[in-house]
């Protein structure tokens, strides 16, 4: 029996009707861009420019402009790669896992989170691709017939698994995002006035009419895509963690890496979703759609996953001690008390200690505070990857190879530049596509159960 819930809090406030939803969500698309959008977009373009310059310098001169060396052969680049892939994972988690669990609060935030996934994966892919040095032979990573004596790629290598995992993840996420957006693109198609806009929205809506038959198939396809995306997101970050875990470097060679990386990815991804949405709901006037209830639900996930990651940090220490392997023990003592202690303790305080503040309701329901905390989470998760990569590599088995490492200006430029890619894409998305899933939100206006 379906009826209006008397006790559940409404997911969309302000007594909105279906027509109100269409009007509110399509407003930024149908109107001229606001000054906030123009300022944000210009700033993103500046960062995109920084990326362009740094990338040009890297490709023109060679990887030598990075400070990586033969001991620390992975530095900021792979740190940034794992950082961005992790951020991308929250999008899939929100749209796929929460769909499987029938969490209706996801409906207001899934579109922007999925967009975030796609843009984050683009940012992530930049780093391993350009770390190849001679990027023009990057296609050697693909299993293509070649003239080198039938030499194929190495299927035993997790780096090759990454090629398959990341490209599958990107393309399946794009498909999931696009199919989910078709009904909304059709709504916009029927609202826009100009000829060019009509042509493009018509082109991408693929003739959607909202027939019951189409909806039945649409819902089935969404469900199956959600099911396989859930498996996909778990496999992708497991494979990313295998880049480290399958090696014999102390501090990397641990079986806890897959679950630990997946939890960390969800944690950092929710951090980024919170950063974006706290601002977007205010600037775009979506406070009735992305309510305090939504922010509160996200902070709870941040707290739980932050604690999971924290437990993983402590477990690593325990296992290092319990293993009685001196190299393993040294690696962890060096992390906490060695020359990179500041990075380790930044990670610990941002990821394990700081999110505990979300036990308090005030912290979970105050947007400006959630915004600051979401930045803290992202800083902490960047440091986590830096700690794992650099502290393990800078002191290997041979003390004569011990070195210190810090990112060069070009590496910093590339990292900041990826924020340019990310935000430029996000601003364009917010201008030309509906940021909130209109057709799904229309189903929860009446708070049914």
């Amino acid at each position: 029996m379906i009826h209006d819930s008397l006790i559940r809090e409404r997911l969309v406030t302000g007594d909105k009707t279906a027509a109100d939803v269409t009007r509110d969500i399509s407003r930024p698309i149908l109107n001229q861009p606001s000054s906030a959008w123009k300022i944000g977009f210009t700033l993103s373009l500046v960062f995109l420019g920084i990326f362009g310059v740094s990338l040009f310098w890297t490709v023109w001169t060679g990887i030598g402009v990075w400070n990586i060396n033969k001991s620390v052969m992975w530095g900021w680049d792979i740190t940034n790669f794992v950082f961005w892939v992790g951020i991308g994972h929250a999008g899939t988690l929100i749209s796929a896992v929460l769909l499987l669990f029938r969490q209706k609060w996801r409906m207001s935030i899934n579109r922007s989170a999925e967009a975030m996934t796609i843009f984050a994966v683009v940012c992530a892919a930049m780093f391993p691709v350009f770390h190849m040095g001679r990027v023009w032979v990057g296609y050697w990573a693909l299993p293509l017939p070649n003239a080198f004596g039938s030499l194929w790629v190495n299927f035993n290598s997790p780096l090759l698994w990454d090629v398959f995992a990341i490209s599958t993840y990107f393309s399946v996420s794009l498909l999931f995002w696009y199919i989910g957006m078709i009904p909304d693109i059709a709504t916009i198609r029927d609202k826009v006035k100009t000829k060019t806009a009509k042509f493009w929205y018509n082109f991408f809506s693929m003739g959607w009419t909202g027939s019951t038959r189409s909806w039945a198939r649409y819902e089935l396809v969404s469900l199956i895509l959600a099911g396989i995306s859930t498996l996909l997101v778990l496999s992708v970050h497991t494979i990313v963690s295998a880049d480290f875990a399958t090696s014999v470097i102390p501090g990397w060679h641990t079986t806890i890496f897959p679950p630990y990386f997946v939890a960390g990815a969800i944690f950092s991804g929710f951090g980024m979703v919170a950063t974006l949405l706290v601002v977007a709901r205010k600037v775009m006037n979506y406070e009735n759609y992305i309510t305090i209830g939504h922010l509160e639900a996200m902070t709870k996930i941040i707290m739980v996953t932050g604690t999971l990651v924290g437990i993983a940090y402590l477990t690593e220490f325990f296992i290092a001690w319990y293993s009685v392997v001196e190299y393993e023990q040294y690696a962890f003592i060096n992390r906490a008390t060695g020359p990179y202690w500041w990075a380790y303790w930044s990670m610990m305080s941002c990821n394990l200690i700081a999110p505990q503040v979300f036990w308090f309701k005030w912290a979970r329901t105050t947007p400006w505070f959630i915004f600051i905390m979401s930045i803290v989470v992202n800083v902490g998760m960047w440091f986590e990857r830096f700690v794992i990569i650099v502290t393990s590599l800078h002191r290997d088995y041979l003390p004569s190879s011990w070195v210190m490492y810090s990112g060069s200006l070009t590496e910093v430029g590339l990292f900041l530049g990826t924020f340019g890619i990310f935000f430029t894409c996000f601003f364009l998305f917010a201008k030309f596509l509906p940021v909130i899933n209109m057709s799904e939100v229309k189903t929860i206006l009446r708070n049914r159960e």
Binding site: V153, N154, F164, W208, T212, R213, A216, S235, S439
Partner: protein, 188 residues
């Protein structure tokens, strides 16, 4: 049966009766009342999925899940064959004298291939079956059917009590009723 669902086209049909609703509960009860009279509802166009409507109007369960399963199997087999050919048949690599045969390190690539083929295979069939092909003109009956209005279409046939049906739709909360014939709509 062709791949494209012919039911989705509004062309070359008899005269159609159209009812417009603004409330999903009223639409559901109206659909049930029409079906109870033994009348076949051609389709209902809604701006969002109205759950239960497909069963009322007799839409069969989609077979896309089975399609997805077979696409997945195809992906898995193709990836297995690819790795086997490159790694065992064409250029076996001696790694620590280990035997050259299937090993768990093949699984990640096979798994990703399975997911890729499932998603894109199902996606392609979804577009085909839903008549979502570029070049086909969409049949919109109302500009607001993707906004807030729900449109029920009933194809008329010999001996149908059209007047009675229009009255039933109005009684069940239709905010507007129309006739659609040869691409022209008339409010009745």
């Amino acid at each position: 049966m062709g791949l494209v669902d012919k039911n989705l086209s509004l062309r070359n049909r008899n005269k159609m009766l159209i009812g417009v609703w603004e409330d999903e509960d009223a639409l559901l009860s109206a659909s049930q009342a029409v079906v109870d009279k033994g009348i076949h509802i051609h389709d209902v166009f809604t701006p969002y999925p109205v759950h239960g409507l497909d069963r009322i109007i007799g839409v069969k369960r989609s077979r896309l899940a089975r399609v997805a399963f077979f696409c997945g199997l195809t992906g898995l087999s193709l990836m297995f064959l690819m790795i086997w050919y490159m790694y065992v048949k064409d250029w076996p690599v001696n790694v620590g004298n280990k035997p050259v045969r299937f090993s768990p390190s093949w699984i990640p690539v096979m798994f990703e291939g399975t997911i890729l083929c499932t998603a894109f295979g199902m996606g392609i069939f979804f577009f085909l079956r839903n008549r979502m092909l570029h070049g086909i003109k969409n049949d919109l009956l109302d500009d607001r059917q993707t906004d807030d209005r729900m449109i029920m279409t009933i194809e008329t046939c010999e001996g149908m009590d059209e007047k009675g049906l229009i009255d039933l739709m109005k009684e069940k909360g239709a905010v507007e009723t129309r006739e659609f014939h040869n691409g022209i709509q008339t409010v009745i």
